[in-house]
Subunit: 245 residues, 2 copies
Amino acid sequence: MDSLNNDAIDRRPLHSEVAERLRSLIVEGELAPGDRLNERVLAERFNISRTPLREAIKILALEGLVRLLPNRGAEVTRLTRSNVEDMFQVVGALEALAGELACKRASDDDIAEIRRLHNEMLARFEASDRAAYFTLNQRIHAKIVDCAGNAELSAIYRNLAQRLHRARYMANFSKSRWSHAMEEHEEILDAIANRDSARLNSILKSHLQNKFDVIKNWLDKSATGPSSEDSVDADDSQDRKTAFI
Amino acid sequence: MDSLNNDAIDRRPLHSEVAERLRSLIVEGELAPGDRLNERVLAERFNISRTPLREAIKILALEGLVRLLPNRGAEVTRLTRSNVEDMFQVVGALEALAGELACKRASDDDIAEIRRLHNEMLARFEASDRAAYFTLNQRIHAKIVDCAGNAELSAIYRNLAQRLHRARYMANFSKSRWSHAMEEHEEILDAIANRDSARLNSILKSHLQNKFDVIKNWLDKSATGPSSEDSVDADDSQDRKTAFI
DNA sequence: AGTCTGTATCTTGCATGCAATATTAAATAT
DNA sequence: ATATTTAATATTGCATGCAAGATACAGACT
């Protein structure tokens, strides 16, 4: 009956909407790593009660964006060097699988869409619009992963990409690295358009490695001078000694 | 001060405890795929209020064990053929990465531990104790993944393994397949003990493929006669036509 | 001064209550 | 008999309230 009902007013559950708002606050950096999430403050800010807010926080915790502190609420997760490295490793494995599948399964429309995104990104690059470039970059990678036609893969990838996003745009890259990244993207587009999975995977791999190198540099740089604040002893899973952002 | 404090009373938050209880109800099959989660009933069963229960349900939703139905609560996710296939594909990519890293990073103690688990599993195999075999099997695979020393990888793997667990033990395998699986495990142990990552990855890959074949068979078998129950039209992401368990 | 202890305040964790929505059943119409 | 409306019942979504736990601070003590 309603198989194609587009008029539906989507009364999304509140917790899901709140989760999204919180997510962007974190990803865009307004809520910085280490910040505590005060339920009263946030509930007032969003003008909702604490119940849906708490549900949203649980969601973000499982996504890895916040960390639950029993009886003390939650804080935005800090990114550590090893943490980021771990995520990059997993992303690498996932992109490899995605590249393989995408070359087989991508439709011509899919590839046209990637090309469209690519050209738009090129325009942003030429306009030196870092923010817009960034968004398009993410969308291209996500689109390639989606072309693999594996919903699980897409979901996991998206989550990791989001968590890395925070690190990535804090670590500002040089113009020369930027040009190089743009060249890599030319190759990526070319490889997938030709459904050359071997080449796609090889370029995806080095592209990722280069991204990681930039972030690694930045992490190490921000690390010099780590004695900034509280030197509380914390034999936590998230140990302070190597937490940067 | 408390760097090795084992006396700590772990007052885990209720929602987390509830999530765990619910998780095993689902994984062990007491809550079957498609079952609705009635908040009142479950809250009474666990003797808690609905608030922490709802928080737990949100957690399971993100883990992929239940599906949120706006304004209608939640239901245990059904496993579809394509869904299971997707998960297996991702698991394959993750195990490949894990095998690579584990061969490099596993300590001798780690390998001894794997051997211990393996021998215990062999004993269970010889005693035809399917349930115990199953548990040990999972623990071995998890241990190998943990040897990779990548926390993100471990977490993602664990989640997928858990979701597949439901399918795997419903699909009862033949004795001959079982023997073969046991042989494969001999090879896995051997490969990792020799830190032969090429061989480990190759055997892990075919081992996984064989597992999938068994489940695929079973899924297809349970599929013949899909007109079992409600034929409600659902142009949902989780379409009923191919939902088996 | 620095540490310890007790008190006041704030925050979280959970339970309960109420309104909105969905589900079921009954009643009516076709 | 089947389909459609209407009423009753049950269930969810969210807000609020209260008690237990955490934080901050002041005063006592070494």
